[in-house]
Each structure stands twice: as C-alpha cells, then as structure tokens.
C-alpha cells in the first residue's frame, strides 16, 4: 500500500500546481512506473490531454504552445540528450522537469545551458524510480538481469550498469518511505555484497544530507539476497491465481497479453490484472485454482441474475432504472468476461501440457525426500510423450538441485536422457545451473535438511499429510522472514555492512532479491503482512520471474560465459 500511495502522491504533486492543458512526457521506464499507479481517466481529470514518449516526440515538428509540458524522466544520459535538443527548440509553452532520482550537478548545468529560451519553470526530484505492482511488491524491470550470474571480470561495465540501476531503485524506495535503513546482505553472494556496500556508501556518505531523516526508534532493515540461494521457487509451476497467470501466460506491469493464445474478441486480447482496481482479483489473487473456479462461478451467477432482471423491462420506471445502472452493468460484464477468459485459457494450457501430473512430481522433488522414488518418477515423465521440453528440463533441474550429491551416476543418466529427448535443449544448462546455485553456493537451508530441527519438522509434516499437494512448497523467503520476526537472522549468513548494527527486531523490512522475485514469494509476503505480527515486509526484485524468464536468464548467462572463456 505504502509504495503505491507514495508513487501516486508524487504524480499528484507533479500535476496539481500546474494549471491549464498539459502534456505528459515520459521515457520508456517511467511509462511503466506511472501506468501501474495512475490511470488514463485520472490523468484526464487533471487536464493532461496528451501523453508522449520523450524519444518519439523529437520526430514531430508541430508546435503546440497552448500546452504545458510536464516531463517525468529517469536521469540517464540519453534522456538528458533528448531534453537538450527539445529545450533548444521548444514545442510547448512551458516546461516543468521532474526526475525520478538524483540529478548530478553536471547534468543540471547541461540543462541550464541548453535552455536558451527559458521555458523551464521548475526542476524537481520525485523519487518514484520503481514499479509498484502490488501493495508490498515492487520491481525494476531491468532487461540485463542475467548479468548478476556472471563474475565481474566478464563484463565490468554491464555489471556496473545493473548494480547502479538496483542501487538507484533501492534508494528511491527509501527516499519515498523517508527512512534510512540498516543494511544486511547474503554472505555467499558477491553481487549482493557489492550492492549492499554501494547502497551504504550512497546513503551514509555521498548523500547523507538527503537521507538524513528523523530517526525513529528502530531503523528499518534492508536485506539483500541473491536469487541463486533459492533457485527452486522460480522453476516450480504455480497454482495460485496471480502466480499461475504469470507462469502460464505472463504478467507485465499488471497487464496480461492474451493475443498469442488463440482467437479472442478484441477487447479481451490484453487485460489488466491489478489488485488496486479489481475487487474480485484482490479477493482471489492468492487463492488456489480450485477455489477460484468456485468464486468465478458465483460471480457469473450473480451477473446472470442482474442480466436477467435487466431484460425484464416493462414500464418506463424499469427503463429508467436500467439506464441508471447501465455503467455498472457494463463494468461488471467486462470484469466477468476477463476472468472467465483467463481461467479458460489457463485450463486449456494445463490440459495440453499435462501440468497436473508434472507439477505433482515437481512439488515432490521440492518438498519431500526419497531419492530412488524420485529418480524413477522423473525417468518415467521424461519418457512421456505429452510432456513438453520445458517441463522436462525443469524436472531434471529440480532433481539435480536436490540430489546433486547422491548417486551421480543416475544424474548423468538423466542428463543423457534429457539431451536425447529434447532436441532444443542446450547442453550443459543444468550443469551451469548447478555451478551457479549448487549446494555449495547456497546459504539458506533450502530443503530443510541441514539442521536437526528442520528434519524433524519435515518428518512431522510428512506424517500429518498436506492439505493440497500442489501448493505445499514454501519459498525459502518464508523461512527468512520467520527468522527476522523471531530476531534470529544469523549474522554468519547475513552479515551487516560495515559498522551497521541493530539490536532487536526492526519494524519495517525491505527484502531485495537480486535476480528477480516471483509471485509465489510476493504472496508469501502479503500473507505474512496480513497476519500482522508487528513487522511490515516489502519485497522487491530486479524483475519478476517465471520459469521461462529464469531459464532465459540462465541461457543468456551461459552464452556470455562461454563466449568470454573462448576469448580468454
């Protein structure tokens, strides 16, 4: 809630003091940032009658001096160049410049120099440099995400770019929250350490004035972890509504693109899934697939009743009532068709890829023991013709991650079988994954089999049986959050940066996952916050992963690693 409202507040402040007709100029990143928190109709209410991208605007030549230009951009080199050109030949009456992060002095000088006609009325920094997709979940949509898997020597500028963007995003979050945190990072990850140190330097040394907020009792905690500590969660197939849609179809900035999945009516090809605007979605986004079916059926029944009463128009009074309730009726109709379409598409995909079968095996691999049984089951599924290539790859990866050390012979057999079965499989991807996120590289107790207490807990759970086989997996993040709540996050595994220290439990925790978050983890965070244990968690990542994206990042990283070793 707090991130969404902070971003909205910034946009409001940008628009409210400027009277008259306005044009809002954004760059490709700030478009995402603004679109998830502000709607077109709200912009229209604030008299913003045109929205353009800063790079496309230079191609047009018509001057619209009756409009006032409101620029909201990230302070990057290209944007400053675009601005220079546009300030030199202004198309609009006035210009108000807003930046989503801190401007360097040199950049301000450049802008001032190119403003010959003095159209710039104000320059401000509004720190909305993150995409607030859910109340407790933000992302940064970084395209070069895969760089985090490579050591620094491979591509130093690329990795620097990634780290800079992450540091910018995290500092914007804390500036929006108006707090300065204590920083901890995952010991085994170099990227996490680097980002933690750079963030600390920024907040405590370089810009300490800017971050010097009123100190409350307990500083908030910023915990930076690495995706590779829990590679299992992005590989699993999901069965709760929001996570499932992202896994099977793909959600980007709260939009779902259904145009590739068969013929659909035009207004259903791209739909919006936002918990802020859709009450049904807000109530059901964390429910599992079976329960969603029931809720949708109830919604359709309600809608049918309303539709029936609308058809029964006899008197003028009825007509008047119908026209009164027509806008709501239309909205309900749109909403119902949207959810029905989504669930239909997902059921189709589940049926095609035999996901019930595959996912059961995946959950077993992730949660329960028994190497021999697992090996047999995976081999069977590999031989099954109707299982798709990507699912086979995921099964072998999950098996490899768990039984890496037990029986290497059988592991080799699985690799060979996979290579022979799936022609598109890039050889060595599983091995690459093991090199990145194998048992030696992981800090956390991913399978709950490191210390006695966890083993005992697992056995008890096995005896008790689970409610739903398909949703038994808990992401590692859940355990991390529990340790923080109990105040028992180990210093050995998650050290503090520099000389930071914190006694006791923080009240606000921001967990940033380098490499991307998943909707399963954001669900975990939201459910944890709902329990109201006195600590509020916010989750953020460089992207939002599903299995396709995670595998793509792996492939990209592998390709770059291979080409760099060839060069060396």
């Amino acid at each position: 809630m707090v991130l969404v409202s902070a971003a909205r507040e910034y946009v409001n402040r940008m628009l409210q003091d400027i009277s008259g007709m306005k044009v809002l100029i954004l760059d490709s990143q700030t478009v995402s940032i603004v679109s998830v928190v502000y709607s077109q109709s709200e912009l229209l209410q604030k008299e913003v009658f045109l929205v353009e991208l800063v790079d496309s605007i230079s191609k047009s030549k018509e001057s619209m001096s009756h409009l006032k230009a409101v620029y909201f951009l990230r302070p990057t080199l290209e944007n400053i160049q675009h601005l220079r050109r546009q300030l030199a030949n202004p198309r609009f009456g006035e210009s108000h410049l807003f930046f989503s992060n801190m401007l360097k002095d040199t950049q301000i000088h450049i802008l001032a120099d190119s403003d010959e006609q003095e159209v710039v009325q104000q320059v401000q920094e509004y720190y909305a440099d993150f995409v607030a997709i859910d109340p407790y979940h933000f992302t940064l949509n970084i395209p070069s995400n895969h760089m985090y898997m490579l050591p620094a020597v491979v591509d130093p500028p690329g990795l620097q770019q990634l780290c800079d963007r992450i540091v910018d995003g995290i500092s914007a979050v804390f500036l929006a929250l108006k707090r300065r945190p204590v920083i901890r990072y995952q010991r085994t990850s170099d990227v996490a350490k680097r980002i933690a140190q750079e963030t600390s330097k920024l907040m405590y040394q370089q810009e300490s004035g800017l971050f010097d907020f009123r100190r409350t009792e307990m500083s908030p905690l910023l915990l930076i972890v690495d995706r590779r500590d829990d590679p299992v969660t992005p590989l699993l197939n999901q069965w709760t509504y929001q996570a499932m849609v992202h896994e099977l179809v793909g959600i980007h900035d709260n939009k779902v693109d259904l145009s590739s999945t068969g013929k659909l009516p035009k207004d259903q090809q791209e739909v919006v899934l936002s918990s802020e605007q859709d009450a049904f979605f807000k109530a059901n986004m964390y429910e599992n697939f079976g329960d969603i079916g029931m809720s949708i059926k109830r919604m359709v029944d309600d809608f049918q009743q309303v539709a029936k009463s609308n058809q029964n128009i006899q008197t003028i009074e009825d007509m008047a009532k119908f026209v009164d309730s027509y806008p709501e009726y239309r909205k309900m109709h749109g909403n119902v068709s949207k959810h029905v379409t989504l669930v239909t598409e997902m059921s189709k995909i589940v049926e095609e890829r035999k996901l019930m079968l595959v996912s059961e095996r995946e959950q077993d691999l992730a949660c329960n023991g028994g190497q021999v049984a697992a090996f047999e089951a995976v081999t069977n599924l590999l031989s099954n013709e109707s299982v798709s290539d990507i699912d086979r790859l995921r099964l072998v990866m999950l098996y490899a991650l768990r039984y890496e050390k037990e029986s290497p012979v059988q592991l080799m057999q699985l690799f060979n079988k996979l290579a022979s079965r799936s022609p598109k499989y890039k050889t060595g991807l599983v091995q690459f994954l093991l090199k990145q996120a194998g048992v030696d590289k992981r800090t956390g107790d991913l399978y709950g089999n490191r210390d006695l207490l966890n083993i005992a807990r697992n056995m008890a759970r096995g005896l008790k049986g689970v409610e739903n086989v398909y949703t038994q997996h808990q992401p590692l993040l859940f355990q991390t959050m529990e340790s923080i709540i109990k105040g028992r996050l180990r210093d050995v595994d998650y050290p503090f940066v520099g000389n930071h220290f914190q006694q006791g439990r923080p009240q606000d925790v921001v967990i940033f996952v380098v490499g991307g978050t998943t909707y399963e983890e954001s669900r975990s965070v939201a459910l944890q916050n709902a329990i109201n244990s006195g600590i509020r968690f916010i989750l953020g990542g460089s992207v939002v992963l599903n299995s396709k994206r995670f595998l793509k990042d792996l492939e990209e990283a592998q390709r770059i690693a291979k080409s760099s070793t060839n060069v060396v």
């Binding site: 007709m21 044009v23 954004l26 478009v31 995402s32 603004v34 679109s35 502000y38 709607s39 077109q40 109709s41 912009l43 229209l44 209410q45 008299e47 913003v48 009658f49 045109l50 929205v51 353009e52 991208l53 496309s56 047009s60 018509e62 619209m64 409009l67 900035d253 939009k255 207004d267 791209e270 739909v271 919006v272 936002s274 605007q277 859709d278 003028i316 007509m319 008047a320 026209v323 009164d324 027509y326 806008p327 239309r330 909205k331 749109g334 909403n335």
Partner: protein
Amino acid sequence: MVELAKAHAKALMPSFGDGKEDQLTIEGLTQEITGLLRKSEKQLKRLAAAGPSEDSNVRKNVQRSLATDLQNLSMELRKKQSTYLKRLRQQKEGQDGDDLEMNLNGGRSIIDDDNLDDMVFNEHQMTKLKKSEAITVEREREIQQVVESVNELAQIMKDLSVLVIDQGTIVDRIDYNIQNVATTVEEGLKQLQKADRTQKRGGMVMCATVLVIMCAVMLVLLILKTILF
C-alpha cells in the same frame, strides 16, 4: 442544478394552494438543464468531427474528459428527478387516500344525522370527488412530463457512454494508449507513403510526360518546316 433541487423541495412541501407556479418553475428548469446538456453533447460531437490532425489525440482526450463530466452531471440530474417523481407519486396517493377517507367519514357522520339532508350531502360528495379527480389528472400530467425528460436524458447518457472510458480496463492504461498512438501514427505514415508512390507511378503522370514530349517534338518539326520553306 441547485436551483432545480430547491424548486423540487418547495413543490414537495405540502401546501394548501394549487402549487401551479412551482410546477412551472420545475418544468422550466428541467428543460433548461436538459437543453444545456444536449447542446454540450452536440458541441462535443463537433469537436470529434473536426478532422484528423497532429493534436487529434489532444482532442480525443479532451472529449473523453468532458464526456465523463457530462455523464456524471446527467446521472445526478436523473437521480434527482427520479426521487422527485417517487415522492410526487407517494404524495398523490396519500392525497387521494385522504380525500377518499374524508369523503367516507363525512358521508357516515352525515347519514347518522338526518335523512332529509341526504341530497345536499350527496352533492357535496360529488364536488369533492370531482375536485380530487382534477388534482389526480394534473398530477399525472406532471409525472408524465418528468418521465419524458428522464427518457431524453437516458438517450443522452447512452450516447455519452460510448465516449467515456471504462475504469480499470486496458483502455484506461497510459502505456496502452501510448503504444496505440505509436502504431496508428506508423500506420498513417505507411499509408501516406504508399499513396505517394501510387500517385507517382500513376498513369496520369506518364500520360502528361508523353504529351509534353510530343508537343515539344511537334514544335521542333513546325520550326523546321518554316525554316525549310
């Protein structure tokens, strides 16, 4: 709108008089407001039809925001009218009921008294009935008028609802609109280029060039002929 609300309230207050002027003011105000709404709608439509241009997007967006405002206003007006209507109906029934009751009571008490006065009191009853009939007829007429204006507004609302954006749908997303603008502008450019090419390649240009060349040739021949002769 505020004036209309006040007029409604005044008319609804139980009064001893006929209340004709109140009705007239209400009618007048309602018609005025409906007229204004319809005029705004026409102007809105004109805004759209003013041809494509660079700031057609601006136009479209202005249209949308004004349409939303108009729709809200007309919904408000309709709500006020329907409540007025309802209360009017209640009052009418109440009045009729009262009249009838009065008649019955009057009738009973008088019958008890004197049988000689029967005729006189029957007449009394008749006049009372006629009066209440007249009132009923008038009320019905008023209700009919209000209903008419309600229908007019309904029509306007339906027209407007096509323009207004549904909140929460994909059309309400800023990034979707930007994408669409880019694609439509590109499409337009492609069409223009194609048209340009077809025109250049067109038969007309060929014919014209051929004719010009032939004219030049003929001219040269003419000059040669005069020189030779």
